[in-house]
């Protein structure tokens, strides 16, 4: 079966969507990611959509779902690399992906995840004391 690869990078998972996904593939990715978060005890998910030419309401919903599920599994999600034309179209479509953190590129997205992880550690120490 066709699948989008999920890479593990330290405490984070990295997904680069490089093909025009059909709906079932998007659902499979959502399921795979939630399982991998738990399996690897990941604290962050970075989704790179810099190769995606369009994001319609179905793919948008899938991204929102992933962020919501990841949050419940104690992982942050950052969406990176959205093309300007895609952003313009998504807002006009009526989908602004509220609740999904974004960054311009992979490097900045990683910084966001690392920042939120540091915040968590600090908070954790504070409680123990």
């Amino acid at each position: 079966m066709e699948r989008i690869p999920i890479l593990k990078m330290g405490e984070f998972l990295l997904v680069t969507i490089q093909i025009d996904m059909h709906d079932q593939l998007a659902i499979t990715l959502q399921d795979d990611l939630t399982q991998q978060i738990v399996k690897h005890r990941a604290h962050g998910v970075l989704i790179d959509i810099s190769s995606l030419e369009i994001v319609d309401s179905f793919i948008g919903r899938m991204i929102g779902n992933i962020a919501g599920m990841a949050r419940m599994l104690d992982a942050e999600t950052v969406l990176v690399g959205m093309k300007p034309a895609v952003a313009i179209t998504l807002v006009e479509l009526g989908m602004s992906l509220t609740g999904v953190r974004t960054a311009l590129n992979v490097e900045k997205g990683m910084a966001v995840l690392q920042g939120s992880l540091k915040g968590k550690e600090f908070f954790g120490r504070d409680i123990e004391r």
């Binding site: 059909h22 369009i54 313009i88 479509l93 989908m95």
Partner: protein, 137 residues
Amino acid sequence: MAAILKDETAAITSSSDIVKVRQLVRELAISLGFTLVEQTKVVTAASELARNALVHGGGGNVRMQALNNETRRGLKLTFSDEGPGIADLEQALKDGFSTGSGMGLGLSGAKRLANEFEIESAPGQGTKVMITRWRNT
């Protein structure tokens, strides 16, 4: 009356056909000289309407016409299905209204992304949605 430069029809019977419709519409939009933003809007609208035809209409087809009149060029897409049809069109066009598992943005979103929008539907009569996106000049 606009001259028709190209006239193609594609079937929509599976979720991979939605991807194919996106590709065909993209090619036509490029051939008409649409900007990247215009291409993205019309391809996204096509994706929403193709999914509607598949999910709510049980499959159907899309007719894609590249138009040219004296002053402008455009892309007209007609999605037809033989599904159960829509009883309350006004309600179906509202943001957030959904009978399926989606966000309910398909019809209303596609309408916003197009310059012209028309829908014909009645219970038991199937659904026909026509959108036209004109190239900005």
